[in-house]
Amino acid sequence: MEILRVERLKTYYESVRGTVKAVDDVSFNLHKGETIGLVGESGCGKSTLGLSIMRLIKPPGRIVEGRIVYDGKIDLTKIDYEELRKIRWKEIAMVFQGAMNVLNPVHKIVDQMVEAIIFHENTTKSEAVERAAKMLQLVGVPIDRMKRYPFELSGGMRQRVVIAMALLCNPKIVIADEPTTALDVVTQRNILNLLVELKRKLGLSIIFITHDISILPSISDRIMVMYAGEIVEIGDLREVMNNPLHPYTRGLLNSILLPLEPPKPFSFLPGEPPDLINPPSGCKFHPRCPYAFGKCSLERPQLHEEKPGHAVACHLYR
Amino acid sequence: MMGFLSKIVKNEIVTGVLNNRRGLIGLTVILIFTFIAITADIISPYDPWKLTGKPYEPPSINHPLGCNDIGQDILSEVIYGSRVSLAVGFSVAFFSTLIGICVGLISGYYGGILDEIISRGVDVLLALPSLPLIIILAAYLGPSIINIIFVLSILGWGGMARVVRAQTLSLRERAFVESCKAVGMSDLSIVFKVVLPNMFPIILAESALRVTGAILSEAGLSFLGLGDPTQKSWGMILYYANTRNAFFMGSWLWVLAPGLCIAILGTAFYLVSSALDEVANPRLRRMR
């Protein structure tokens, strides 16, 4: 059952040098209870995509085209601000990266959490405090931390708080934008395990954004690979990991070095991420692609289903 | 070498201000007032000291702004007033800038204990309320234009010193200063040939603000009765306007005109200062 459908979304930023096409015609859907791992290099537009879904794009950026349909009924790009406000956090919530920056330094943790509840639901303050306490327990934060300020907590604790905060109103969808990137490996593993557990317990639908493809198998049901503002491959986790179709995906997977393993051929992606203001013509990946041929520089490949449940945007498969 | 360097720096500043809309407006107004001040003898309808009309005479063709309480033409007063106000403004700005630059450079460049002491001193200077201090000094020194310039200058350099010090501190750490030292340039050379020219836009910006401050202070002092009665400054005009009840005799232009001039000229300097700020710090420029 489909809970979110993104259709032909384009989010552009106006800059002095030109228009940055951060999200350039992206379409996908998210099913109830599933976790999609959104992966790509830095600057490929994945964070912008996440922010666009919640309409948090600020000028000079804006959503130029496309629809974002929630629960089959509501087009998030069209509703007015008040309605959007009600949907935010209550239906769709976000876990930001960099938990230190995202928590208000002069408000206590408990106040920030209670605030999220009170403005969406009709509860008393003490009820809200209780719910916040329960949620903190769920994510493994000791209750005594509630009365503290963000800077008094460790990095891992803060990330847990941010996760707990996102879940306070029991949202249907959680967009997790690089929730583990700023953390050390051990904490990273702990947070991932926590998310897996929560996903199971609460039946969340998650869009998990990361640039590190190696952590996706722990948590994702499907994988979506993004390059230069476009989706280049999308499919079932095992299917894509075992059978990567798009050359970029292959390069990403080969970049993961397992311990004691020598580098494989094509184990690095040559070149640099493309300029999003003047991207390469045709397929944006073609300058870096070892398999590029004539058509690749002329025509942009469309996402199509090569196998059931496994789609790719590449001229190699037509 | 020095001449060439300063040509480049000055050019950038001048074009920066002229290209900036606010800077252009400000500069134009300043030039207009300067022109008026210089050509006062020619363009002024009367000698402002002569009694050319009736006391409190209302505005007419002969006296567009009317006459003051003893019958002097107000328009002429205002025109000549620009001389004094501009002279005071520029002089005070000049001297306080000079002092401020010296103090700021020494403090910022050499750092250490010297810097601590000087900064503490500047802080104290800025912490004392300036108006009472200015009043006391002016009262004891006596009412003359030189005294006013003196008092305003020695109390007004604090802001400039702070700005120059901050700039010097940041420039001192930069790579090109290090390389100058490595090459063997003397401290004095570094300061005057390298560090100082880089600060011109900011120094000018701060100076422009000082001009307005000085004009306002002179007006204020004159209004309180500490001004120079031998000069026709805008402040002195307002002093008489207040003490001779201009409003209640219906001569509201007597009050309006000089005050408006002060405000317009002051705003003009602020605009130029703002434009110079943007030249100094391109980040401030708004994207059009």
């Binding site: 948090l56 959007l84 406000r85 009600k86 949907i87 935010r88 956090w89 209550k90 919530a93 976000m94 930001f96 960099g98 920056n101 995202v102 208000n104 330094p105 002069v106 408000h107 605030e115 999220a116 403005f119 300020y149 800077f151 008094e152 905060m165 | 503490r120 802080d123 104290v124 800025l126 912490a127 004392l128 309320p129 300036s130 108006l131 009472p132 201090l133 009043i135 006391i136 000094l137 009262a139 004891y140 306002l216 007006a219 204020g220 209004f223 309180l224 500490l226 402040g235 307002l238 207040n242 409003f247 009050v255 005050g259 002060i262 405000a263 000229l265 002051g266 300097f269 602020y270 605009l271």
Partner: protein
């Protein structure tokens, strides 16, 4: 907690340093001027000889300078003896100051609340709505007002609202020789008389608060926790006030302290224009009548007020920012 102590120590010692400089200046300035103070006393005002003798003795006016300084310190700090007013003789300067001080404090007290409040509020709104027409409008007007002389604005306000449209009275702190039926009437009368001066002070002083508050607000809005607050679906007003303004105001409050000096300066002009019987008007009279002891005493008192006000504001900052309390 040591950083709190360190902060307090620093601020208090700075205030003491400034106070010492103030004492020195107050002592040196009159004595640095040409002329013997005693002779001024005799010649300008024809004070009776025994009073002159007493002043000479008290302030050691014939002794070498360091003894004079000690006498000065003793008289000023221990006895609050600033001498006699020339004009209002035999009133002492101290009596005169104490008579006028309450009114000035009253005016400044109200103004030092209204001016930052108005200015900061304006700054918050224009910072939040950066680039809007309101923002541009406020910025242009503020720029112009900044260049206007205090007293000129006060004169115009007086003329327009006291004379042309007589909403407010023309002068003084209370209606002279009035009788009141209830305390409320008395209070209202005081407030009516204080209204225009306070408005004048507020208009002339708000701009720097607005500028700083706006700048701080713009910086704060770029922070990630504002994005988070928006993502949480909070109402706009709540984000603007509880999240953005709350953080943006912290650097603004130190600026509030520095501005007390300017409010005090402005009150001199304001009291002069509105004939408000405070220390400011006293200074004006002292200038006009060459009443030097009063001038000195008033200068000293006013400066002391500013130093104290700044110190208090610094200490208030301590309460407002929890980070100062807890960081090493």
């Amino acid at each position: 907690m040591s950083s709190v102590k360190g902060y307090i120590v620093r601020r208090v010692s700075f205030s003491i340093l400034t106070f010492i400089i103030l004492l020195l200046l107050n002592f040196l300035i009159p004595r640095a001027m040409p002329g013997d103070p005693a002779r001024i006393l005799v010649n300008e005002y024809q004070l009776p000889m025994d009073i002159v003798k007493e002043l000479r003795a008290r302030f050691n006016l014939d002794a070498p300078i360091h003894e004079q300084f000690l006498a000065y310190l003793r008289e000023t700090l221990l006895h609050a003896n600033f001498g006699y007013s020339y004009r209002y003789y035999p009133m002492t300067v101290w009596e005169l100051l104490m008579q006028r001080l309450p009114w000035t404090l009253f005016l400044l007290g109200i103004a030092s609340v209204t001016t930052p409040s108005f200015g900061i509020l304006l700054g918050i709104i224009t910072g939040w709505r950066r680039g809007s027409r309101f923002d541009v409008f406020v910025a242009s007007i503020s720029m112009f007002i900044w260049a206007i002389p205090y007293f000129w604005l006060a004169m115009i306000l007086l003329y327009v609202f006291g004379y042309i449209i007589p909403i407010f009275p023309l002068s003084h702190a209370i209606t002279p020789a009035a009788t009141y039926n209830t305390p409320i009437e008395y209070i209202l009368d005081i407030l009516r008389h204080a209204a225009l001066p306070v408005i004048a002070l507020t208009i002339t002083g708000y701009a720097s608060y607005t500028l700083i508050a706006r700048g701080s607000m713009i910086d704060t809005i770029a922070e990630d926790y504002i994005l988070m607050a928006e993502a949480k679906g909070l109402p706009e007003r709540r984000i603007m006030l509880n999240h953005a303004a709350r953080n943006a105001l912290l650097p603004v409050i130190t600026m509030v302290a520095l501005r007390f000096g300017f409010i005090v300066g402005g009150s001199i002009y304001t009291e002069t224009v509105f004939s408000y019987p405070g220390v400011g008007l006293l200074i004006y009279e002292a200038i006009t009548y060459h009443d030097y002891p009063v001038l000195q005493g008033a200068f000293f008192l006013l400066s002391l007020t500013v130093i104290l006000a700044n110190l208090i504001a610094d200490l208030i900052y301590l309460i407002v920012d929890p980070r100062v309390r807890y960081t090493r």
